[in-house]
């Protein structure tokens, strides 16, 4: 017992010592100087794509002379971004001028306590250098290859897997394929199998992803920098190096990151639009944002730790953003589902109730088509619905189409062309990306309730949206279409179809993450 305790303390001391040791390197060694030994420790991965620009992010352990080369082919990387034009952020231990941004850290004593409790340190690993290279002047909807360097030493890229595609012109009709995952960040077998099933599906279809949306809880348990590395970046790197991940913060990331300050490992990991760079209204914060992919408008909200009331900054921004968009499709995403009876209950929990009562009326008055969430560790997909804001949620009076949305079943859901208020929303709870599943009951507006790990692939092409849930074995477990054409007058279904009531197993399988 004594030896074990001593060992824990020793480990804590060693980790703390590492935190205290400063690297005494300038940031970064001047160009032309001999580069330091530096190991790639994260990425490279893509962020903040626009029709004419993109950001490539990577990290090294130890300082380096960052350089990015890009071009039309892996062996034709004819363009270069030099160190002076690359944003560098460093861990707190690195000796650097005051103006150099610091990566997240907490007081040493708090990290020591975390180590004693067998938790990973919350602070960024010592001697970490993060580089963010923004490539501009690109053509819209065009594919480019890239590589990242330390001086002249290539760290990664320059091959067929390291590429990026800029976003299509805003307002130009362009097919979009979106991968949606939630509550995945365990680094466990299920997470990997869900990822592999998506990769297999995409390979079979010969249709690569255009973007990746993560609806939160990507780094259990506390969203620390280390957890981000092991449970997010290490797992998804084959996709992250060529596909932008647009994130929403989950409650677990919220253990270490805060929306109002924009500080924490979550905010270190991502570069998202604050100034309307990719379309949409400038939000002035990375906590909530919007962007356009052709004629699809995407809105990301922070359901975790910001004011969700209509008079709060987030809802005020949402209202103004919805007034502005001229897209034909509207997809919104965040973490806490407005409708669920999975491992969480939207009739009982504050954040979920507030997103339903305050945010959903604004979105539906703005013509939202699909809402993507997680948090509840289950797959739930609603019928076409509108106006379900009261608590508890009931199906009566809110279902516009109680069919399954399957063109080979009850038929696709139908809406008028373009964005129109209150013509119906499909809610998808995709909290089945990897962590332990759970169910507490039956949400009456749901058409599909599936307690299996998986993820969602959405294709938007012209006037049709197709969505499938692929489970971890690669089986297609749900499918629905939305077709938008002509003028459709929504009608409320009088006695809508109802899902079977839930009979809990002898020992409830629930988890309150």
């Amino acid at each position: 017992m004594f030896a074990k305790r001593t060992l824990v303390k020793l480990r804590a001391c060693l980790a703390l010592a590492a935190l205290f040791i400063t690297t005494a390197l300038p940031v970064h060694a001047s160009e032309g100087a001999r580069p330091q030994e530096a190991e790639l420790s994260r990425g490279p991965y893509l962020q903040l794509a626009t029709p004419e620009s993109i950001v490539v992010v990577w990290r090294t352990e130890g300082d380096s002379i960052p350089k990015l080369r890009w071009g039309a082919a892996p062996d034709k990387l004819t363009n270069e971004i030099a160190a002076k034009d690359i944003v560098t952020k460093v861990s707190i231990d690195v000796l650097a001028p005051e103006f150099v941004p610091r990566l997240y850290s907490i007081p040493h004593a708090e990290d020591a306590k975390r180590l004693e409790n067998h938790r990973s340190p919350a602070s960024t690993a010592p001697n970490t250098f993060q580089f963010e290279a923004r490539i501009t002047g690109l053509n819209a909807n065009s594919k480019y290859y890239y590589a990242v360097f330390n001086g002249d030493e290539k760290l990664a890229g320059g091959d067929k897997d390291h590429y990026f595609r800029t976003l299509p012109e805003i307002g130009k009709e362009t097919p979009a394929r979106i991968w949606v995952v939630g509550d995945s960040g365990t680094a466990g077998l299920q997470q990997r199998k869900v990822f592999e099933a998506m990769q297999q599906r995409v390979a079979n279809d010969k249709r690569p992803l255009d973007m990746y949306i993560h609806v939160g809880d990507m780094a259990y348990t506390d969203g620390t920098d280390r957890e981000f590395q092991v449970k997010f970046f290490d797992v998804y790197q084959p996709t992250l190096r060529n596909t932008v991940c647009w994130p929403a913060m989950g409650n677990h990331e919220g253990h270490t990151s805060r929306g109002e300050s924009g500080i924490g490992p979550y905010y270190d990991a991502y570069v998202v639009p604050k100034r309307g760079e990719a379309g949409g209204l400038a939000s002035g914060t990375e906590a909530f944002y919007s962007f356009d992919y052709g004629k699809v408008h995407f809105i990301c909200l922070d359901s975790h730790d910001l004011d969700r009331k209509p008079s709060g900054a987030m809802a005020q921004w949402l209202k103004a953003d919805l007034e502005k968009t001229k897209a034909d499709w509207l997809i919104a995403f965040w973490h806490h589902p407005p409708y669920t009876k999975g491992s969480h209950d939207s009739d009982r929990e504050g954040q979920l109730i507030e997103m339903r009562e305050h945010i959903m009326p604004m979105l539906e008055a703005g013509g939202v088509d699909v809402v993507l969430t997680g948090h509840s560790h289950i797959y739930e997909r609603s019928m076409l619905m509108d106006g379900a804001y009261v608590t508890p949620t009931v199906a009566e009076g809110v279902i516009l189409d109680d069919g399954d949305g399957d063109p080979n079943g009850d038929g696709a859901y139908r809406k008028s062309a373009g964005l129109n208020p209150h013509e119906g929303t499909v809610q998808i709870v995709a909290g089945n990306g990897g962590t332990r599943l759970g169910r507490r009951g039956t949400m009456p507006v749901m058409k599909r309730i599936i307690l299996e790990h998986g993820s969602v692939i959405i294709d938007v092409d012209g006037n049709t949206m197709k969505a499938v849930m692929v489970n971890l074995d690669g089986a297609e477990r749900d499918l629905f279409h939305i077709v938008k054409e002509g003028k459709v007058t929504p009608k409320r279904v009088e006695n809508p179809w109802q899902p079977e009531p839930y009979t809990p197993p002898a020992r409830p399988n629930t988890q309150s993450d």
């Binding site: 002035g284 103004a320 954040q351």
Partner: protein
């Protein structure tokens, strides 16, 4: 807790869940225990203050906040405690102290849009039009974003700078799918310039658009507030009052209700 014991962190995590479930009494109980177990654990202090404010236990909340500020001096958490303290002052009707705390928070975190918005509204409550406009100009310069730009336009109208406001409104109107909120802003500016007929046309167009967007069984409260304001500005006092009561029943924020009241009064 079975494995690790009732640590401050786990108690705080449970309390957060209690709060999410609306069980403030149990949340406060866990958080008091957490702060007793570890007096230096800041998240528990912050969460406890938040819960106590929701329970309107302002004296105890103020004590917790004071202790918290002592612990987090010169860190980003300090701003969050000032924001909490400003809520207490505002609830007690002391808008001056509330504004002072929000300004302290902004000084520590210029990027916090919610704080800038709060400050603007506190200035509005105190009729400090020039201070409000200046603060918003600074905020927009430091961190441009849609919400603060809109708030600045509102502040310019409230402050009587109608021409300046119109310059900002026209391009927004031209670039918006739904125009009602910008039409109402333009109508307010036009009324300030005594162009009442043009203002009335804008207000009627805004009402028409809003009515096509209102959900028949349960309306978006922000649209109801706009609808009520539009009627108040048109002089349709009864309809404006109906909208006010509807907005109140939909739990509109006090600030929004106060805005409707002010337009009813000024009319």
């Amino acid at each position: 807790m079975e494995h690790e014991g009732r640590t401050a962190k786990l108690l705080t995590m449970r309390a957060t869940e209690y709060r999410a479930l609306g069980d403030l009494a149990n949340a406060a109980k866990d958080l008091r225990e957490a702060t007793q177990k570890d007096a230096a654990y800041v998240p528990a202090m912050f969460e406890l203050a938040r819960v106590l404010i929701s329970q309107r236990e302002f004296d105890e909340a103020a004590t917790v906040i004071k202790r918290g500020i002592g612990r987090v001096r010169n860190t980003p958490h300090e701003a969050a405690f000032y924001m909490l303290r400003s809520e207490i002052s505002e609830a007690r009707g002391d808008e001056k102290s509330a504004a002072a705390d929000v300004m302290r928070a902004i000084g520590l975190n210029m990027g916090d849009i919610e704080a800038h918005l709060r400050l603007s509204r506190l200035f509005w409550k105190q009729n400090l039009a020039a201070e409000r406009i200046e603060a918003l100009h600074q905020a927009v310069r430091a961190n441009p974003g849609g919400v603060l730009e809109i708030e600045l336009t509102e502040a310019l109208i409230d402050g009587g700078l109608f021409e300046d406001a119109l310059k900002r409104i026209e391009p927004e109107l031209a670039d918006s799918r739904f125009q009602s909120s910008w039409l109402i802003r333009r109508a307010r500016a036009l009324q300030g310039l005594e162009r009442d007929r043009a203002a009335a046309a804008d207000l009627l167009a805004a009402i028409d658009e809003i009515e096509t967007r209102l959900q028949p069984t349960r309306e978006d409260v922000s649209l109801v507030v706009d609808w009520s304001i539009a009627h108040a500005l048109l002089g349709n006092t009864d309809l404006a009052r109906d909208g006010y009561h509807k907005a109140k029943s939909l739990r509109a924020d006090n600030y929004d209700l106060a805005r409707i009241e002010s337009f009813l009064r000024n009319r």
